[in-house]
């Protein structure tokens, strides 16, 4: 497959098409070769026409290096590739409007780097001013941070209600609260997962247990509320203990997200991860092995992904309007597919779905997940 590239794939748009050609074996026609050694930064050309540019950066030195494209002031970073080990090669792909810039290699990752002037001539390509997006991205990050905090707060409050019912032995009420409460968790799952320790404490499935590992969190309680045959119910003391942990770990989550900030790539990747969760855990019915309330989680994952996308939408709109439009309509399709299985305030159980219905849901998820995986690159490039 050397040299071959599939332009466009499903998501059209010049930017995505070019991103498809960035295999290190291939060199895009307009690629600029950069060789970074310990003492020099050779750039094959001092200028290029405006549009989407690819820098093929090769580290010919003995130290780890980085490469930057900087604004004329030498401060503002338009794009960068970091952590290029000796002998390795990495691409920087970015869309640049006409103007004066600086290239910089930074062998050893310290200092200002080895800089040179770089000019982008006007090719007539339609590109938004670079400054425009920075503000929109900041806004998106703020919106998302607020959303995560809000969901965490609701999770704390609803978990309290849930635990109250569970400890009072009001299992019917606990069962009714289980799925709606978990939705707050599922909406922000990638953030919770990023803390590493909290996710296994709160959301570990029985199948993922290690021999000898303590099983805590939602799914432990799930099994107690929807007991399989031959199951030994938890004693009141055990319920007390597991509930206390659930409340404490949820409180920790809230405190951690309280002043968490996010970058654009975290929003984009988070949205993609939520759809991956749906694709591998929910649409397969694996997540809620006992309660079968997978469609609640499904909805919550989609909610969380949609919020991240909506927050970034103005940026995507500016950079790749076709992608923005496609994501918009595919989100709507998934929602429409899901809405068919609504029942009361919630959804039917996973076990009530026919194989064909599951297959249709899976298809709508995959249809959205594929273009959604382009979100990060579109926003950060």
């Amino acid at each position: 497959m050397k040299g071959a590239s599939l332009p466009g794939v499903l998501t059209a748009g010049a930017l995505v098409a070019l991103a498809g050609c960035t295999s290190n074996e291939t060199t895009a026609d307009n690629a600029i070769a950069v060789t970074s050694s310990d003492t020099a930064c050779e750039v094959s050309s001092g200028q290029a026409p405006s549009g989407t540019l690819t820098f093929n950066v090769t580290n010919a030195g003995a130290q780890v290096t980085e490469f930057y494209l900087l604004a004329e002031d030498g401060l503002r970073i338009l794009g960068e590739v970091e952590n290029i080990g000796p002998g390795l090669r990495r691409d920087l792909v970015l869309a640049v409007p006409p103007g004066k810039y600086l290239t910089a290699c930074k062998p050893g990752m310290t200092g200002d780097g080895i800089r040179a002037e770089f000019t982008i001539t006007d090719s007539g390509a339609d590109l938004a001013a670079t400054g425009q997006f920075a503000e929109q991205i900041q806004q998106a990050a703020d919106t998302y941070a607020f959303y995560v905090k809000d969901q965490a707060e609701q999770l704390v409050a609803d978990t309290d209600d849930f635990v109250e019912a569970y400890l009072a032995g009001d299992d019917d009420r606990a069962r009714a609260l289980y799925a709606p409460t978990r939705m707050h968790w599922e909406r922000i799952e990638p953030v919770a997962e990023s803390f590493g320790d909290l996710d296994p404490k709160l959301d570990l499935r029985e199948a993922d247990l290690e021999e000898g590992q303590d099983w805590t969190g939602w799914h432990r309680i799930e099994k107690d509320l929807w007991p399989p045959v031959d199951y030994r119910p938890m004693s009141p003391a055990q319920r007390q203990k597991i509930s206390k942990l659930l409340v404490a770990d949820t409180a920790t989550l809230l405190s951690r997200v309280a002043d968490q900030t996010y970058r654009a790539d975290q929003l984009g990747n988070g949205a993609k991860e939520l759809l991956d969760e749906v694709a591998t855990g929910k649409v397969t019915g694996e997540e809620e092995a006992w309660s079968h309330t997978d469609l609640w989680d499904f909805q919550a994952n989609v909610d969380g992904a949609r919020v991240a996308f909506d927050a970034l939408a103005p940026v995507v709109q500016g950079k790749d309007p076709e992608l923005a439009q496609m994501l918009e309509s595919r989100f709507d399709d998934v929602q429409a597919a899901l809405d068919q299985h609504r029942k009361g305030d919630g959804f039917v159980l996973y076990t009530d779905l026919s194989p064909n219905q599951v297959k249709r849901l899976a298809a709508s998820v995959d249809a959205l997940a594929e273009p959604l995986s382009q979100l990060t690159a579109t926003v950060v490039t």
Binding site: S23, N24, P86, L88, V283, A363, D366, T376
Partner: protein, 416 residues
């Protein structure tokens, strides 16, 4: 039409032991027309079974058998028949005295025939014994072999995330048939299964369409279905520690296993759809190597030793702490190495509009307890790759040493 002439030739001479050598020479002579070493025969007899430290072929048919007999002699008879058939097929010859197209006109042909005209294609047939050959589930002695159960032939624990399908797990006897032509590999398993009827039945089997490892420095490193070079740091036949990493040594015991090895098979489904949506950055971070040429992210080329201490920006390791390579590296496991010999597979789709595809992982080692087991324990716990894989089948088996002409595979065990 060299293929046709070979078919006739073999059909005429049959496949008796005396003519076997002639047939093999002829086969080689004919296949030279295609000038392709991939067509050559790999010797079957020897102190080790072929198909382990011999160069990994392109195709796999792996089969697990359950014994249906309760008689020890039946098992021995089948192993003899399998040994003879395997010796013939690996030499590019037909199974049985009359082969595929000769013999009594009213009798079904002895060889099933689909490999007629095909060269030996590097076929190897490797036979291994599961724990259940020695003892049944309640510890009972099935064939008078319980006393010879190697301590290393363990039952694997349940690893976190395991979703093993009982219909793809376990078995009494295993056959690994590898060849450079899929038809030749399938032909081998099919004919052994046929010879086994009444003694053994196929419990499950797995096709692999592309090798994911190299076992010789002369071979180029192939790619797995994640698109990464697989087999770079594998045990290669040329390595000074190859023999002691793979073969059971006299001091290890039991005596009948010396010169043999322990195999592990894991059918690992890949969720390739979600993988394909993952950024190149994340893909490389997961393995700790570059996708283009498999170089460690600490720098160099494919065969440069990884530098796990190399730091990138903000003193974050260039090779992530939870990357597959770092966790699996011998430096984390007392220097112990295993020989990987896996294959890519696809088995249709999963009913959700996605391919059932992945890696049929095969590893051979002197002791599972110090290599596969601790490595998989660490991987199952911490490997970032876990998000994209699921273990769906499993087998552990003792591969006895090879035999000389006239012997049969497993003879040392049954005569121990």
């Amino acid at each position: 039409m060299s293929a046709v002439s070979r078919r006739r030739f073999l059909g005429l001479i049959g496949a008796g032991a005396a003519t076997a050598a002639v047939g093999a020479t002829a086969a080689v002579a004919v296949s030279r027309d295609q000038a392709d070493a991939l067509a050559d025969a790999v010797p079957f007899f020897g102190s080790h079974q072929a198909g382990i430290l011999t160069p990994a072929q392109d195709r796999l048919h792996f089969a697990a058998f359950d014994l249906t007999t309760e008689r020890r002699d039946d098992v021995i008879r089948m192993l003899r028949a399998w040994t003879d058939a395997a010796a013939a097929m690996t030499a590019g010859l037909e199974v049985g005295e009359f082969g595929a197209t000769a013999g009594p006109y009213d009798a079904p042909p002895q060889d099933t025939g689909e490999a007629l005209g095909l060269p030996p294609s590097g076929l190897t047939v490797t036979i291994g014994f599961g724990r259940s050959l020695f003892t049944d589930s309640s510890g009972g002695d099935r064939f008078g072999l319980a006393g010879h159960l190697p301590a290393g032939l363990i039952e694997l624990p349940t690893f976190p995330g395991d979703t093993l399908d009982p219909a793809r797990t376990g078995g009494d006897i295993y056959v690994q048939a590898c060849a450079n032509d899929p038809q030749v590999a399938v032909h081998a398993v099919r004919n052994l299964a046929r010879l086994g009827f009444g003694t053994a039945t196929v419990r499950w089997s797995q096709l692999g369409f592309g090798r994911t490892s190299s076992t010789s420095a002369a071979q180029a490193t192939p790619r797995n279905l994640f698109g990464f070079k697989d087999g770079t740091a594998n045990v290669k036949a040329e390595d000074p520690d190859a023999n002691t990493s793979v073969w059971v040594q006299p001091a290890d015991g039991p005596q009948w296993m010396v010169g043999g090895t322990f195999g592990v098979a894991r059918r690992i489904r890949m969720t390739i759809e979600t993988w394909d949506r993952t950024s190149l950055r994340e893909q490389e971070a997961i393995f700790g190597r570059t996708k283009v040429d498999g170089a460690p992210l600490s720098g160099g080329d494919e065969f440069t030793e990884p530098d796990f201490g190399a730091m990138g920006r903000d003193d974050v390791p260039l090779i992530a702490m939870d990357s597959h390579m770092r966790l699996a590296h011998p430096s984390r496991h007392g220097g112990v190495r295993m020989l990987r010999r896996g294959y890519n597979y696809t088995d249709g789709s999963d009913g959700l509009g996605r391919l059932d595809a992945g890696l049929f992982f095969l590893a051979y080692q002197r002791d599972v307890r110090t290599s596969f087991l601790p490595v998989q324990q660490m991987l199952a716990r911490s490997d970032t790759l876990n998000e994209y894989i699921r273990h769906t089948g499993s087998a552990v088996f003792a591969v006895p040493p090879g035999v000389a002409e006239g012997g049969y595979i497993g003879q040392a065990l049954f005569e121990a």
